[in-house]
């Protein structure tokens, strides 16, 4: 099976990775050889097998909803690539009227 360039572009878009056409082609070759390696799994009959998502025998874990102090705002914002007073700055997300 060979991935099409459009498929690679689509996956890159889903993964939020900007890629040039040249990068997409190189990625296609690498993904092809890795995906070929996955084909071996089809040899196993898993029709009646339940999936395992992790090894622990536990499902949801709940705790009491108790108020506690949150992180200091300045410490959080200190890592912001762009900040505006108490906010993170991002490009415009809505057109101005």
């Amino acid at each position: 099976m060979r991935l099409s360039l459009d498929e690679v572009r689509h996956v890159a878009r889903l993964g939020r990775l900007a890629m040039t056409d040249q990068q997409c082609e190189a990625m296609r070759d690498q993904l092809d050889s890795i995906l070929a390696h996955f084909e071996a799994l089809q040899e196993l009959d898993t029709d009646d097998v339940e999936p395992t998502s992790h090894s622990l025998d536990m499902a949801n874990v709940y705790r009491d909803d108790e108020p506690a102090p949150s992180f200091d705002r300045d410490r959080i914002l200190a890592n912001a690539p762009k900040r505006d007073d108490e906010c993170f700055r991002v490009p415009l997300i809505m057109e101005e009227d």
């Binding site: 900007a18 097998v49 705790r63 490009p91």
Partner: protein
């Protein structure tokens, strides 16, 4: 033996008897870092000032007559994917190059509380994806046993630091072998605990159903002591196991007569270096001579472990790494962008390295509409088959034994294409897939003097028995006492 080459339990005894101060020990290790770090390159950040302050504080507490925890004053290196408030946490990625976490990881908080002295943050393959540290965005760490070879990965910095005497003990994380394989390459003891035994809070997530933090040390007793500190329930990690934490030093020294050891034949597949296979078989014979009952075990689906892992781990990674969007922290593009999606796409493409991008692509593909059943769901089902294999083996055996790595420490660049590098993890991956604990420990050296590790595994939460057997072997074999030759050729140092 120089202070920096000694074990934590020996040094702890000297500290307790006040024959050594924490500051003296800290200075010895910092001096060693200064002497050999230019060649080993284990650290992304050396925390010399923090370490000195911590060492002083420990000495003050001891002088005041306080009864201190066993590892108080012991220099500890932390893999740079665990959050620390007083040093950057980079994951060896350009994404997080300048990131300082607003909180300590639970393991870091515990170590801080116990008086450990933080030497620094160690290099890794970017976001822990790799087996050699060659995927670090900053530099490659060298193996102290042979500077032209990889220290293993992804916890290669932690392993190299410990083996070079640049730390006494270290923390690593293991998603597919990232503690055990570098332990094997650097002749150390490295334990991947049972999934859920150690809190993952503050460990930058790679594959959440597989990640586990554990120790890298020079002997089994140090691993037991560090695990005693790390293990336990944490309300901040919903996958943390809420069950009692046994003292792992308790069974050390007990004889292992009658303990049943299974040798899964599938793990000695073709492609295993004959020197590795010979050393591991010799170690198994030694265990037998100590009274263990050795038999052949079988895990028929284990050869499917690798493709299963390389579907599940990148799938989880592609989801976990979605948080790096250049908005709240991490790298943001300086190019002009039209909208937020372009901001994400540009920022991520500029700052994730090739291997990380490759895994995001694999994972995104495996989870995408139309392929989910064929890849991700299929892999989750094969995971169940793997688990059944191991459950069956543990009905018959207490411990299983096999090589940690199919190959000797390789030269840089030797495993250029991704698939050949993935193959290096074939012996370690199944352990993460099923969640059991496993330890790698030194079992000899190749004719060229390169370290070889044996891997021992046990059933869920059987760390006490696992370390009991590991300790018995280690003490009778004695390979743990050797140190990397690095020091001898180092002019001018003590």
């Amino acid at each position: 033996m120089e202070l920096f080459h000694r074990t934590a339990h020996e040094l702890a005894e000297l500290l307790r008897r006040k024959e050594l101060s924490a500051v003296e020990l800290c200075d010895a290790v910092l001096g060693r870092i200064e002497a050999v770090e230019p060649r080993v390159r284990a650290y992304v950040t050396v925390m010399a000032d923090v370490a000195r302050e911590q060492a002083k504080a420990v000495d003050a507490r001891r002088a005041a007559g306080e009864d201190l925890p066993p590892l108080a004053g012991i220099p500890l290196a932390v893999k740079d994917n665990m959050c620390t408030v007083d040093a950057p946490t980079t994951c060896s990625s350009k994404v997080l190059e300048h990131f300082v976490a607003p909180y300590d990881a639970t393991v870091v908080a515990r170590a801080r509380q116990a008086g450990c002295v933080f030497t620094g943050k160690t290099n890794l393959d970017e976001f822990a994806m790799g087996s050699s540290t060659e995927n670090s965005a900053f530099f490659t760490t060298c193996n102290p046993w042979d500077l032209e070879r990889a220290p293993g990965g992804s916890s290669g910095g932690s392993a190299a630091a410990t083996a070079a005497g640049e730390a006494i003990i270290a923390l690593g994380s293991d998603t597919g072998g990232s503690i055990r394989q570098p332990a094997s390459f650097c002749s150390l003891v490295g334990l991947k605990p049972t999934y859920g035994r150690v809190s993952r809070y503050g460990l930058v997530a790679f594959a959440s159903s597989l990640d586990q933090i554990g120790p890298l040390t020079k002997d089994v007793r140090d691993t037991a002591l560090l695990m005693n500190l790390l293990a336990g329930h944490d309300p901040m990690d919903s996958t943390s196991a809420d069950r009692p934490v046994p003292d792992l030093t308790e069974l050390l020294g007990r004889d292992i007569r009658g303990i049943r050891i299974g040798v899964p034949k599938e793990f000695f597949a073709e492609g295993t270096d004959p020197e590795v296979a010979n050393a591991v078989h010799a170690a198994i014979r030694q265990l037998e001579s100590l009274g263990a009952i050795v038999g052949e075990a079988s895990t028929p689906t284990v050869s499917y472990g690798l493709p299963t892992y390389y579907i599940i781990a990148p799938s989880e990674a592609s989801s976990n790494l979605a948080r790096f969007d250049g908005v709240r922290y991490g790298h943001r593009t300086s190019k002009p962008v039209a909208d937020n999606v372009e901001l994400y796409e540009q920022s991520r493409a500029e700052s994730f390295g090739p291997e990380v991008q490759r895994r995001i692509m694999i994972g995104t593909y495996a989870l995408s509409a139309g392929y989910y059943d064929a890849y991700y769901l299929k892999a989750q089902k094969v995971r169940t088959l793997l688990k059944r294999d191991f459950d069956k083996v543990f009905e018959q055996f207490d411990i299983i034994a096999w090589p940690t790595s199919p190959c000797l420490p390789f030269r840089f660049g030797e495993r250029g294409d991704p698939l050949s590098m993935y193959m290096a993890d074939v012996c370690t991956i199944p352990v993460n897939m099923v969640g059991i604990p496993a330890v790698s420990l030194p079992c000899g050296f190749s004719s060229g003097g390169l370290p070889i590790g044996i891997q021992l595994g046990a059933s869920y939460f059987e760390e006490p028995k696992l370390l009991q057997v590991a300790y018995a072997y280690e003490q009778s074999a004695g390979f743990h006492a050797r140190r990397a030759p690095l020091g001898a050729s180092c002019g001018g140092e003590a």
